[in-house]
Amino acid sequence: MGIDSLIGGTIWDEYSQKVTELMNNPKNMGEITTKQAEAMGAKLIVADFGAESCGDAVRLYWAVDTKSDMIIDAKFKSFGCGTAIASSDTMAELCKGKTVDEAVKITNIDVEKAMRDTPDVPAVPPQKMHCSVMAYDVIKKAAAQYKGVDIESFEEETIVCECARVTLSTLREVIRLNDLTTVEQITDYTKAGAFCKSCIRPGGHEEKDIYLVDLLAEYEKEKMAQTADAASEGNIDFAQMTIVQRLKLVEKAIDENIRQMLIMDGGNVEILDIKENGAYFDIYIRYLGACSGCASSSTGTLFAIESILREKVDQNIRVIPL
């Protein structure tokens, strides 16, 4: 862990000069009234996103020229922290002069980049990135209202990490292609989870339908199912198997080759445990019925069981009767 993580941040010191200036003097803060819109010959659109109870809310006003679909003027009001106010202001600025269809393509990343002082230094620290997401969502809401359509019609894909705009399908693909097993790896590959961290697991700033940990669990399950299939077809090394897979395979070999014989003699056998012992796999068994106490159980029968398991399952098996 590096020094920054150890001593924690002072998030305000990481704001760009632009964010600071916009928070102090937002340019597009305000309202557009129905009368003002009419005077411009435009249609007034008012869209809300978020709620005060969640800590962030924004209201976007658009005056749209209905002939050209052009956004002539945009204003905002916002309940939120400095980043929320600055990014709402930037978002309103970016909307102006664009058609509604063009505006819908503005992402929170465009908003964040527009607030940078220098192109390669982020405008806000990672944990503040989610404050710019709201600015993006409210545009879609306004556009949906203008076009009289459902807001979902603008979202072609499910977004899991809103801050970095990483989709569900991208995440699924990257996890499988690179055999990722940890959240840190996902973040390294896709940036998902690098910002507000809400998408990592439940309990963060925002509630999600699916989290990164769910995607990892999903892939893990898939891999397990694959190995289980491979194991039942005998395509996998005994040493690579889980304990359950090993037990199943040993049971299967005994069922198919030994158990019938024992039952015919009025006995049986049960597998108690399989333990790795250096290079060996020690299989502990217990004789049942007539087998227990039978002289051959520690000689002939035992050798028979052991040699069948060595042949059918693994060379390094030792059978130990209790």
């Binding site: 998030i11 305000w12 008012v46 005060e52 809310a57 209201r59 009001k77 916002s78 106010i85 700033h205």
Partner: protein
Amino acid sequence: MRVYLDNNATTIVDPHVFAAMEPFFVQKYGNPNSLHQFASDTHKPLKEAMQKIYAGIGASNEDSVVVTSCATESNNWVFKSIYFEYIVTGRKNHIIVSEVEHPSIIASAKFLETLGCKVTYLPINHEGIVEADTVRDFITDKTALVSIMWVNNETGAIFPIEEIAQICAEKGVLFHTDAVQAIGKLPVDVSTVPIDYLTISAHKFHGPKGVGALYMRKNKELTPLFHGGAQMGGFRSGTLNVAGIVGMGKAIEAAIDGLDFEISEVRELRDRLEDALLDLPDTFVVTPREKRVANTILVSFRGIEGEAMLWDLNRAGIGASTGSACASEDLESNPVMEAIGADADLAHTAIRFSLSRYTTSEEIDYVIDVVKEAVVRLRGISSSYAYAPEGHSDGLDVKSH
């Protein structure tokens, strides 16, 4: 002008405390437990400081007041030792805390839960106070420990510790209180209240950071967390922080001496600030004044997100806080506001002003002016105070201007 109103997070070191500590860096640096005159140089001042700390909380010489590195260490020590002594041995399986304890208590309790301990998180009432009767209701014969803070760091609410301690004593359950916010704000006396363990922290009462203490009543001593050279009677090994202990001794003495000033002068300034804040429309204060320590206000400004208010205060040189200061990087809503069941819209609007004996009347006048301006500016930006045209019903409720 720079005004510091975040004294529940940490305080300025009293210049007299600083002066008392200074000789113990360059002039007197001997390990007090060594056998030479360098040790003797530090041993006597160390003993005097310990006597002041004992006196500061009314501890008898048969009790143990073990100096630690901070309140977090003291609180962790109690929980982890209770686990070693009672939970892991199977004697008990249950701990009671309040839902508004400091993170060092809540996180320790959550950790013990992962080890199989059961934890009850007691609710606070609408005034932000834990009622003593709720403690009684949840104690079982398997309860090992009750831990309730004396004063809440967010609201300044005073919890009924005398009563709760009495209930625990009657039921034979160990009782710990985190008294970090109580020292210098109200009388803390373990000789009259049956408290088994009590946590304090020097930097909350104008002492140095990095010095805390845990009081343990006679015959209630805990298993140490730090094993080593048997300093602090074997309860906490590690070379003694002589300068820190001397600083805490001086600071607690000054805090006790200043108690009258706190409940008269500091209270007067606080009340003047609070009256002015409540004169503004749509502002709310949590916990009635008479049930709070004299220095704290937790106030909500409807329609203004807490961090935005902090921004405007900071621009004007004023330091205050939203949530618990140590957690202000987390950006979550104020836990106390949630716990008292405040209107959900208010959960992110709370600001804490906490004064000290160093706060001046001029500073309070200035803060009142700045807050008034900030409220106008930020409500001007706020969507909850915004115009919505006729028929616009989705989204936010529109509050009156």
